[in-house]
Symmetry: C2
DNA sequence: TGAACTTGGGTGACGTGTCAACTATTCCCG
DNA sequence: CGGGAATAGTTGACACGTCACCCAAGTTCA
């Protein structure tokens, strides 16, 4: 219990501010690009990727939630919105009367296939073209360390 | 126009995935802490910090928008919500009939003063205690490089 | 078998954010 | 002075996320 300094040291503070700013700007830029290109949002894109990677382009809601690290209720809301735009469709599940499939439609498939290359290119252009391999390596390590604290922090105390 | 590889190289892809995950988990963790501690959201905190840093605890809406890098309409909506909880109050501006002050209330001031130390401690504990000075330096540099691309990318073409 | 529990999923309320449109001032300039 | 144009701010519609709560179908076990 030595006295805590009131705020962060200068280096840390600078990193913190820039980090926050990047987290505001980068997703916004990616969103704008996807939106202009294919009328997709970032979450739309993530859902479509999961579906594209699955046999028959169909996934159970819970598996979608696990794969995306989303809450089931979020999946449900988002699927409802995507259904309105004909990107996906719900189908009942014969194996398990409680379950539901989320199924990629033709519209959904062609949309993601057309949008993906440009999206990847944008990520590359905005982020990875700016970084050296050494920076990529250091950042990956640092982020892993923070992530492991976060996951330990939250998932904690199961009885 | 050599053919573009369909996705990112492995190292980059790993960093990218972890980055996305961190950006989901870290704000959520900070939000939970602030919420439990002081019933504040992250944006509430940011607004209160700006107000606390200003003489008389009052800032014009547009200055708030500039300081936070928010849209004015976002400021307006958020101030409305914070006003409902008595954290801030609006006052008309005598200098400029169009303007409005956002003013820190006593409730707002005591809330932020009570919440800030724990919030800073959480940031330190979750992030900076995990990183070496070298990592902090490399990340700051890398983020700066990406930020400068982003700002160049978006703010572009002013006629 | 049937009551309790668990699991899969949906819903409604509400906070958050963006965009477009709107009102009211103030500014600029003939 | 008078009439645009710029500026300050608000509002409404809508997408996104979380939380608390709901229901129905499967599971367990006396």
């Amino acid at each position: 219990m030595t006295d805590e300094p009131p705020w962060l040291p200068d280096d840390a503070q600078r990193l913190w501010r820039h980090w926050l700013r990047l987290n505001a700007l980068l997703p916004a830029a990616l969103h704008r690009e996807l939106q202009a290109d294919a009328e997709l949002s970032l979450p739309d894109f993530d859902v479509l990727v999961q579906l594209t990677d699955s046999p028959d382009g169909r996934v159970r809601v819970s598996d979608l939630a696990r794969g995306l690290h989303w809450e089931r209720s979020r999946v449900s809301h988002h699927v409802t919105r995507m259904e309105r735009r004909s990107l996906v469709r719900r189908e009942e599940c014969r194996d398990d009367g409680r379950g539901a499939w989320v199924v990629l439609t033709e519209v959904g498939r062609s949309t993601i296939e057309q949008a993906a290359p440009a999206h990847v290119a944008t990520v590359r252009r905005l982020v990875f073209d700016a970084l050296t391999p050494h920076e990529v390596e250091v950042m990956a390590g640092a982020i892993d360390k923070v992530l492991s604290r976060l996951e330990g922090d939250t998932v904690a105390q199961p009885a």
